[in-house]
């Protein structure tokens, strides 16, 4: 099939960027979206043009490295699918595609479609863990955990940290990402102990990183390739209020 591509090109963080136009006329429906870009890149190199830069690694929808906005949708048109798992059979011959990086103040563009998402790591750094050291822990079956609770925790833990939620949110909020970690840990007995303080630390860091606030648009939930539910944000908000009232922290 034939495609018309408009791809965001920007040589560095400070340089201005713009869309560049390319055409491909032998795209196979069995290709993944990134394989389509590989084909374009090999062609560009042979034409003495620098290839399009984009993050990717596992190409199995689990590492969270890939991510681009395709025709206005983070990760493209297919639900519950990362860019690397999107296949060209979802497009039609003659389609025109606008391909852009995640856009958010907290995610500066490094080059072309590659952005800096280290702000997400810093949110985890301030509390997205259980404070246990290696060794000296109880037997794994010492604390039974109901299957329902374990499943709920796993639903939240499935987040791959790609940042699509931020890219989808009109406020560029990282609420879904943050709430998912707060839920993953907070519902488990192991994470319960730091539940009050964790939420306050992580929310404060989210603000500090220049992510916006949640105003219940729900775009994040719709864009999330792992189906992380917006309900977790409600849980985060409740935990936050609980935390501030029971165990307030000063930062």
């Amino acid at each position: 099939m034939k495609l018309k591509l408009h791809i965001w090109r920007q040589t560095s963080q400070d340089a201005p960027g713009a869309f560049a136009d390319y055409e491909l006329d032998d795209v196979s429906p069995d290709m993944s979206f990134l394989e389509m870009l590989d084909v374009l890149n090999e062609r560009l190199i042979l034409d003495e043009q620098e290839p399009v830069v984009f993050d990717n690694d596992c190409r199995e929808g689990i590492c969270g490295a890939c991510g681009m906005v395709i025709n206005g949708h983070p990760h493209g048109p297919q639900k519950l699918t990362t860019t690397c798992q999107l296949h060209m059979r979802k497009f039609r011959d003659g389609d025109e595609l606008w391909i852009e990086p995640w856009r958010a103040k907290a995610f500066p563009v490094l080059r072309d479609l590659m952005v800096d998402r280290s702000a997400l790591d810093r949110i985890i750094e301030v509390g997205g863990y259980v404070s246990v050291n290696t060794g000296g822990v109880p037997d794994a079956n010492a604390i039974p955990i109901g299957k329902g609770v374990a499943d709920l925790s796993m639903d939240a833990a499935a987040c791959i940290g790609c940042g699509a939620c931020v890219a989808a949110c009109p406020n560029a909020s990282a609420s879904l990402f943050t709430a998912a970690k707060i839920t993953h840990l907070g519902v488990l007995p192991q994470g319960e102990i730091e539940r009050n303080t964790r939420v306050q630390e992580m929310v404060a860091q989210m603000d500090e990183e220049a992510f916006g606030h949640c105003t219940n648009h729900g775009e994040c939930d719709a864009a999330c390739p792992k189906g992380i539910s917006v309900d977790f944000i409600a849980r985060m908000n409740r935990d936050f209020v609980r935390g501030v009232t029971r165990e307030p922290i000063t930062r």
């Binding site: 394989e35 590989d38 190409r59 969270g64 080059r111 863990y129 050291n133 794994a140 925790s153």
Partner: protein
């Protein structure tokens, strides 16, 4: 050189405890004075960096991804083994040890494997304490499954995302130490040189993948946890950026590379769909618990699967291996798939595919149960292929997946370069000639959480290390070498892309040194690889500059190393005149086509020493003793 594995004395079950007692300790107040570099943030690297920082060492951790959480370990699906015997089905530390030694086809070091089995139980405790949401039963206890040819249920799992959840546990522990200022994390940076001063590893040179800056980092010890090298085949189940550079450059600096020819080909991957193919996707091995593998009995039968009656199907694994059936170990499952396809029974155009059929299981257990067990895998399969596996059998074919070979290490995980430790898939130690399913995650975390934190202390406490800084001439030289190599790649401006060379190398490796190997093929590869390498250095085209993000330049450096390393792999495969585990030499098979080991001549680890690019490496042997699991022919019939 005499290879001393430093295996502690005493009965197998007491070696590790005894050794832990005998190792020297670093005074707690002195720990923070010791800098330790960890390269890699996968299960092995992240767990090691976090655990050593908790002990008080001053740790610096590097990875090439933008975040440590994205290391290749994240992609592991199926599960992690541990000898907990929670299911009361006869498991024990000794049985896990026994299964691993046997599964490795008697080419691993008993003492290491026993330690692995011993600490496996601690790993699960640790992960649960961190909040890893393993699957559970209704009563609230942990759930297990049987996996990859094991006859007991000892595999712990978190849906089909076990690697992700274990890595997030280790990553979170690491982030906690970063937040506490005890680990300095350096993401988006790539190790390009190891620096040796007075015979010991004292630091590394890295390139910042955003700015292109080349910088030096010094330390008292260096740990490589940089993963495996299956991407030497171009197409593999590994992440796109996985590569051999770190371990290969250490090899060029004097670390011995052990058993490079032990490369595992995973039986259940989605077949190649065209020339554009950039990687192969694994369908978890757990699928073989309920899926049945078959091909049409008649070669060249092109009818759709639902038109082929039962009587005309060949469930070849069940037929040939009645006691293990579809659950035979990976090497056997893979080789048999190749055999039936080579005989013309493939179910995909191009000749490389067999069916994995769930119709029986769905009939027996209902679609809902199957959905619960494999829902996400089925969805992934459908996304990639456009076929619905609830309705029509999956098509699968083997693909390069895991590399048992790696840098040679002693019992303390130290390579032949003092101070250079190697963890996880990057070392060779525990899986012999074939790794059992769910054992890599176990090994990575065993090395990182429970072995290196002890052995590093022993090294630091017993070594006299001069104070050095990055101003040392050895760092300047290493930086210059790195710069020169980078500049050279950019100056060639030839006609072919890096990927084009990588694809060609992959074809050479897969055709001559893949699932089965023979002398003629290996010798052919040893002629073709140097020719391709020469062409690469004349004709590769890398555009752009080194002072900015340049992904072609990154790839070019990695492919340049693969082009040298591929030769070592073939040398090793050629030298090993036997079939064992994943290494199948066509000249050495039984009448029934099963692997034929030659224990009298080959019960050793091949450790290769660098002798210059294009020169044959020198072989050193570590002889293996089997005192607890007696050498026997593996049989899964």
């Amino acid at each position: 050189m005499e290879l001393d594995a430093k295996i502690p004395e005493g009965p197998i079950a007491e070696k590790w405890d005894q050794h832990r007692f005998e190792m020297k300790l670093v005074n707690p107040a002195n720990k923070r004075k010791h800098e330790v570099i960890v390269v890699g943030s996968g299960l092995a690297g992240a767990s090691a960096a976090a655990s050593m920082a908790e002990l008080g060492y001053d740790v610096k951790c590097f990875c090439f991804q933008d975040s440590p959480r994205r290391a290749h370990s994240i992609a592991a699906q199926g599960g992690i083994n541990a000898a907990k015997n929670y299911q009361n089905d006869g498991d024990s530390v000794f049985r896990l040890f026994y299964d691993t030694v046997k599964g490795g086809d008697f080419r691993s070091r008993e003492a290491n494997v026993h330690r692995l089995a011993q600490v496996s139980v601690n790993i699960i405790d640790q992960c649960v304490a961190q909040g890893v949401p393993f699957a559970r039963e209704y009563g609230g206890l942990l759930s297990n499954r049987s996996f990859g040819g094991a006859q007991v249920s000892r595999t712990f799992y978190a849906r089909g995302q076990t690697g992700q959840q274990l890595l997030l546990g280790a990553y979170q522990a690491l982030q906690r130490q970063i937040g506490a200022g005890k680990v300095k994390m350096v993401p988006r940076s790539e190790l390009l040189e190891i620096v040796i001063i007075e015979g010991a590893a004292r630091g590394i040179v890295v390139r910042d993948l955003v700015t292109g800056e080349i910088s030096s980092h010094c330390a008292d010890a260096v740990c490589l946890a940089t993963g495996g090298y299956a991407n030497v085949f171009y197409l593999s189940t590994n992440a796109m950026n996985s590569n051999v550079t770190a371990t290969y450059r250490a090899y060029k600096k004097g670390a011995f590379f052990a058993n490079p020819c032990y490369t595992q080909i995973h039986p259940t991957c989605i077949p190649v769909s065209g020339d554009h193919q950039s990687k192969l996707t694994l369908m978890s091995e757990s699928l073989r618990n309920d899926g049945r593998v078959w091909v049409p009995k008649n070669a060249g039968d092109t009818r759709p699967p639902d038109r082929i009656p039962e009587s005309e199907r060949d469930y070849y694994l069940e037929r040939k291996y009645p006691s293990f059936g579809n659950l035979v170990p990976r090497d056997i499952a893979s080789r048999n798939a190749k055999e039936v396809c080579d005989a013309g029974h493939s179910v995909v155009p191009g000749g490389h595919g067999v069916y994995l059929d769930f119709a029986d299981a769905i009939g027996r257990l209902g679609q809902k149960t199957i959905e619960e067990r494999y829902g996400n895998l089925f969805e992934m399969y459908e996304r990639i292929t456009g076929d619905n596996p609830y309705r029509t059998p999956m098509k699968i074919y083997p693909a390069p997946h895991y590399t048992m070979g790696g840098l040679w290490v002693d019992y303390n995980l130290m390579s032949t370069i003092p101070g250079l430790h190697v963890l996880g898939e990057a070392n060779f130690s525990d899986h012999g000639a074939n790794r059992l399913g769910a054992s890599a995650l176990m090994q990575g975390l065993a090395d990182g959480y429970f072995v290196i934190p002890y052995t590093i202390g022993h090294y630091l406490a017993t070594s006299k290390l001069e104070k050095v800084d990055t101003g040392h001439a050895a760092f300047r030289d290493a930086e210059r070498e790195v710069r020169e190599k980078t500049d050279r790649l950019l100056e060639i401006r030839g006609r072919r892309t890096v990927d084009d060379f990588h694809r060609e190398l992959g074809r050479i490796m897969w055709n001559n040194c893949g699932m089965s190997r023979n002398k003629a093929g290996l010798e052919k590869a040893l002629e073709e690889i140097p020719r391709l390498r020469e062409e690469f250095w004349k004709d590769v085209r890398v555009l752009g500059a080194s002072e900015s993000i340049n992904q072609s330049l990154e790839k070019a450096g990695r492919v340049a190393d693969f082009l040298e390393f591929g030769e070592i792999l073939c040398h090793d495969a050629l030298d090993r005149e036997e079939s064992c585990g994943a290494h199948f030499r066509e000249e050495h098979q039984t009448e029934e086509g099963e692997a034929l080991r030659h224990d009298e001549d080959y019960t050793y680890v091949s450790a290769w020493e660098y002798k210059g690019v294009g020169n044959a490496p020198a072989l050193h042997k570590e002889h293996l003793e089997f005192e607890n699991v007696h050498l026997a022919t593996r049989s899964y019939k």
